[in-house]
Amino acid sequence: MNRKKALLTLLITLAIAWGSIGAMLLAGWAPKLGLDLQGGFAVVLVGPEGTDADTLDTAVEIMRRRIEELGSVQEPEISVQGERSIVVQLPGVDDRERALEAVGTTGEMSFRPVFGLVQVSPALTDPDGDHPENLDPVTGLSDPDDVHATIAYLPSEDGSFVYIVGPAFLTGADMKGGRAQFSGTGGLGGAGGWVVVPEFTDDGGEKFRLATGELAIYQVGSPQRRLAIVVDGVVGSAPEVAAGVSPDEGLDPNQVVITIGSSDNPQAESEDLAAILNYGALPTTFERERVESVSASLGADSLKAGLIAGLIGLALVMVYMIVYYRILGVVAMLGLTVFGSFLVGALILLGEFQGTTLTLAGVTGVVVSIGITLDSYIVYFERVKEESHAGRPLRPSIDHAYPGAFSTILKGDTVTFLAAILLWLLAVGPVKGFALTLGIATVVDVFVSYYYTRPGTWLVAHSALGDGGWFSVRGAMGKKSSQASTSVEPVEVTS
């Protein structure tokens, strides 16, 4: 390392760290706070009379998974309340409608044969005809929809058509899951668009093959050749079985995509449908009883106390580090601002683009990570001291101690990073928030150690503060006089 390289590395790191956080703050971005810190809103969902406890528990679990799959909302609090209600508390996210949609809709999905396609429900045009039961008197549509009814009247997505459909060939239970993806030809009229690729169970795949074979006997262009894909009583789309499909063979279930009809946000919609396919339908329908805003559960007083405590703690740490490591302590404190800038920057970005929220658990992750990054300095400085006490001259010690220290830091951070990754992947709820900040912090720590601490320490040691008495690097080594060794200190060996 030489002066020019060290200075350049240091300046670039500082510019990126402080510049990016400064820009974000100027743009008015700040980390999004979670439910416990900032409050949010609560929705009370009520199941039908006589819903049993198991059904409610299953529903809670499905709702939790759906929300986590949305990715835009972190750490909801969902619990059963009273006899048949579920309370969902969500942080104050922007697209609350979408989150409500995810928890509130049953998500029952079915593939059905189309018997006919009309403008207005036959129940309205021909009141005396033979119609299915459970029709809404105003719209003439089936409500609630029973997927196994021999005939049902269901609206199209935009409400302009009414599909007359038969009993389900297969339902959500025949599917293992689905994933949303952008397809070059998946949209309306062959244009690019968002689609959901469903994954069938073995049974479901066979049912799908038979169903499409059955439909393939109808003429191309006939409504009966279409397959209605119904979600929660609405026909999402009704693609026609392609010309040339043999009635004996049907369609290959591995080559199916579900297109998303006209929508303001087809990506969100396809993701939501995929979430529904992945976690199944709610075991019963829930009425949304009320939506209301709720305050932070931790309370402003606790938050304030926590912040004050954090600042006091940080001040104590600062005093200790500077008294113990002198100028090197100052290097560490400056490094803490670099570390903090990167960490907070990452949290802000995640908040902006992923809707990730910071809860008490996440804040703990931050506090813990401060300990981890300080340890990286201590490991390094103690090694420098050790080298120096073994008789190595001051400046070579600085260089020589780094590789070993970095190796230790890397191992320690790897263990913590592993922990964070696994917790993130496997756990749910608050544990996830904690894992996220901790994981980011270990990566930042390694980065800061290499691109800030190393050049920063080198520069300080080669400046007037390297050798100048009590506060200098030499002072921190516990060596009073620099007379004896400066005279014999060899020419710098660059590494």
Binding site: D57, G82, Y320, I370, G371, K385, P430
Partner: protein, 358 residues
């Protein structure tokens, strides 16, 4: 030179492995006591795990959340979760209560909100951190421990992985035992604190073992494993002390400010779990993980040979002051010719059968 000066200069020669013969007994006793404690007095789980009751009352008096919390604290419900809704209601969640305390809660809630008692509604509420979430967390933990064990085995060796995990369980069990003893409420935040402790404990142990491994390479043909461990511990002593101090200072101030100065009960248990856990984590990497490793490794054939050779050499030139006692550890640690990374001299002698290493 005083002990402190020597510590500062990194020139201490404490016989950690020797001392640990006594501390290991204390550790084992604490672990057993904690386990018994957990059996006798199970952990006091918060409403997030167990569910409880929720009281809803209109906030007629328009009181502040702090006021509500302090009147709840007066009837022994300091741990209650209080929220205000945008529609002017107060929500209070507590653990399941007996009839008398439930009446008391309803009366207090009505009183503080300024409404009649019959306008207060009370309802059962299920857990938010229910069985499924707990199961997922435990699964994550088990997989994590397995992967960490693999990692340590890969970077170091499997005996170190076992020693590190032993220290880890030591920390977790004692912290949990303390919670059972004190009867503190375990919240999801406490679970996070335990995970933190887990991270600290492992991190600390990895740092110590890294040093041991490095010293094994430099010193293996002159010293016994126990001596190498002791030397390593002395070398990392100041790091351990400084790291735990700098970690404990913020947590300590959280504990102090959070619980005494501002009455923020929510933070107290959390900070306490962290404080105890970090302190024990530092202790265990020095007094549990490393001594266990040393005792275990001393039984390996290579190290038995190394020990004999070291003893022979020392009795030959008479320069060292080793006193062999009944146990494996010498009571005096030789003054190490501080041999930093890669310094020449340590490997002058022809090496014996080399250990596998990276």
């Amino acid at each position: 030179m005083s002990v402190l000066t020597r510590m500062y200069r990194g020139e201490t020669h404490f016989d950690f492995v020797g001392i640990s013969k006594k501390t290991l007994i204390v550790s084992a006793a604490l672990v057993v006591l904690s386990l018994l404690m957990l059996l006798v007095r199970p952990l006091n789980l918060s409403i997030d795990f167990t569910g409880g009751v929720i009281v809803t009352v209109e906030n007629e008096a328009d009181v502040d959340i702090t006021v509500i919390r302090s009147s709840l604290a007066d009837i022994g419900q300091a741990g209650a979760r209080v929220q205000l809704t945008g529609e002017g209601f107060i929500l209070i969640q507590t653990e399941a209560l007996d009839a008398a305390s439930q009446d008391e809660l309803v009366q207090t809630a009505g009183g503080v909100a300024g409404v009649e008692v019959n306008e207060v509604t009370i309802d059962a509420v299920g857990p938010t951190f229910g069985a499924e979430v707990t199961r997922a967390a435990i699964q994550a933990l088990v997989v994590f421990l397995f992967v960490v064990a693999l990692f340590i085995t890969w970077r170091f060796e499997w005996k170190m992985a076992v020693a590190a995990l032993a220290a880890l369980f030591h920390d977790l069990i004692i912290t949990a035992g303390f919670f059972a003893l004190a009867g503190f409420i375990v919240t999801p935040a406490t679970v996070i604190a335990l995970l933190t402790i887990l991270g600290y404990s492992l991190y600390d142990t990895v740092v110590v073992f890294d040093k041991v491994n490095e010293n094994v390479e430099l010193m293996h043909d002159r010293y016994t494993y126990t001596e190498i461990v002791n030397t390593s511990m002395n070398q990392v002593l100041m790091r351990s002390i400084n790291t735990s101090l700098t970690s404990l200072l913020p947590v300590g101030s959280l504990l102090f400010v959070g619980s005494f100065a501002f009455g923020a009960h929510t933070l107290r248990e959390f900070a306490l779990a962290l404080f105890i856990g970090i302190a024990i984590g530092t202790f265990s990497s020095i007094f549990v993980a490393a001594p266990l490793l040393a005792t275990w490794k001393e039984r390996e054939e290579d190290w038995v040979v190394a020990r004999k050779r070291a003893m022979r050499r020392r009795s030959g030139d008479g320069s060292a002051v080793i006193v062999e006692n009944a146990s494996a550890a010498p009571t005096v640690v030789p003054a190490m010719p501080s041999a930093p990374t890669g310094a020449s001299g340590a490997a002058a002698r022809a090496p014996r059968k080399r250990k596998k290493r990276r």
